[in-house]
């Protein structure tokens, strides 16, 4: 699993995002060069998802995290959205509701995990709660720290119960974020997305980066790995996420299940039926 290993955060490694180049594109030079491969990977992704669905034994949870404008929506639109929505659900976690706040932070998450045969894509996730809490100092350090252990235990439980977990951090630079914000200003189909917090939160850029580093350092485990995806170039981000998910699903050796009925007997019934007179009012 070439890209799986290359971009995975090895368990126990202390992540330093400053050491990861968000402009990295490996040996690839341009969008045009990888267009064909990306397309064939998304087609393969869909095939593998159909098998996962048919097999109905295991499930896949994909978590996407990034700073604002980091490309979560785009990754869904261009890569993960290639899956058949029958069997693939996207959950966008927003600010918790009052009822959600009255429960532990994993309560609303647990309700949305994928069932057998399903893929769930979390656009933001349980990590968001920990990130925000850390950056805004909403909870004492001790409480925040305990949350990482709770996440690891929770994810381990999921993986022990037929759910596979892959977590992606889309890594862009502060300059790239500004470029993306600016381009929204001139796009009437995107202006509605702009909020005051877009640029006020930029002042906390370094705090967010430290929080992401901490979360990935503490929670990239053997059972539920984190991947850091260089994401300044959208085409490389798409290629890389597609490759990693396809490599991983390929490794599961998903198979269509064997028929549960006696095919010969049913074949016989069908050919008998064909010999029947046609219905009058079909």
């Amino acid at each position: 699993m070439k890209y799986f290993d290359k971009f995975r955060v090895k368990p126990g490694r202390k992540v330093k995002l400053g050491e990861v180049d968000p402009d990295f594109t490996d040996e690839h030079a341009s969008r045009e060069e990888v267009a064909k491969e990306t397309k064939s990977l998304t087609r393969r992704l869909r095939e593998l998802q159909e098998r996962l669905y048919a097999e109905h034994e295991r499930s896949l949870l994909i978590c996407l995290q990034a700073i604002d404008a980091g490309g979560k929506d785009g990754t869904i639109r261009h890569v993960l959205g290639a899956m058949n929505p029958q069997g693939c659900k996207v959950i966008s976690f927003k600010e918790p509701t009052r009822m959600e706040l009255d429960h532990d932070f994993l309560w609303r998450i647990h309700q949305q995990v994928p069932g057998k045969g399903e893929v769930a894509v979390f656009n933001r996730s349980h990590y968001e709660d920990v990130l925000i809490a850390t950056v805004r100092e909403l909870v004492p350090k001790k409480v925040a720290s305990a949350h990482y252990d709770q996440i690891n235990t929770f994810e381990e439980m999921l993986t022990q119960n037929h759910t596979h977990v892959l977590k992606f951090f889309l890594h862009i630079s502060k300059e790239e974020q500004l470029e993306r914000f600016k381009s929204r200003l001139d796009d009437p189909t995107k202006q509605w997305k702009i909020s005051e917090s877009d640029y006020t939160e930029r002042n906390r850029w370094n705090d967010y980066m430290r929080a992401f580093e901490k979360a990935m350092s503490k929670c990239s485990t053997d059972h539920a790995p984190w991947f850091i995806i260089p994401a300044n170039k959208k085409w490389f981000r798409n290629l890389t996420v597609a490759r990693i998910v396809v490599e991983y699903l390929d490794s599961l050796e998903l198979k269509y299940p064997a028929p549960t009925v006696d095919l010969a007997k049913i074949r016989h019934e069908y050919y008998k039926a064909e010999a029947e007179p046609k219905p009058v009012n079909g």
Copy 2:
């Protein structure tokens, strides 16, 4: 709305499926002839869905019903699956669970209706409960009959609360069903789908047709129309469903919402930010 009107069951009309040719393909001759149009319609469908999502004021509920092998999954795969799964969920209603059976038949349905900006596709729906109950005579006629009124009231309530409802019956012939069953026998990627009930339920074909006719006669309303789609030719079915949904969404005049912030002020902030020194550890 050409196809919308053409295939809609007019409120009050008594449906006779024997009068609807499942082989009908209008003025179209072949899959090849319509391939380009179908593709451009699914692309348009996705654009319109993005607007519905952005607008965040209204929602769309699409119900698919058909006899086994009628093409519900295929319609999702080839038409409705073109939508971005972020904002479009597919709900497959299976046999009710014990907990669901302990509630009224609309209880589990209500939980899955789309929120503002969302599209929900029901693969089978609340109609399934009524159909099965009628065919198998699970409930007294009087109870079954009251269910149609309850459905109409429920759907009216939804449409009065920002949800638009479109209901499609995919109409195939009994011979076409047999062909499709037979082709599954030889396809290793489909053999797992075959069940004994596939051909035992064929004996109830006429009962099912009568039950569909009754449901559509009673529940095609101004607010929540039924459409009968000639579906022996998969390519015509795809074209027609895509056209109807696109025609309908077009009629809603969906618009991207206006920005909620002062763009000029934000533009100023961005250009100021650009003049700042670059962060050391980006």
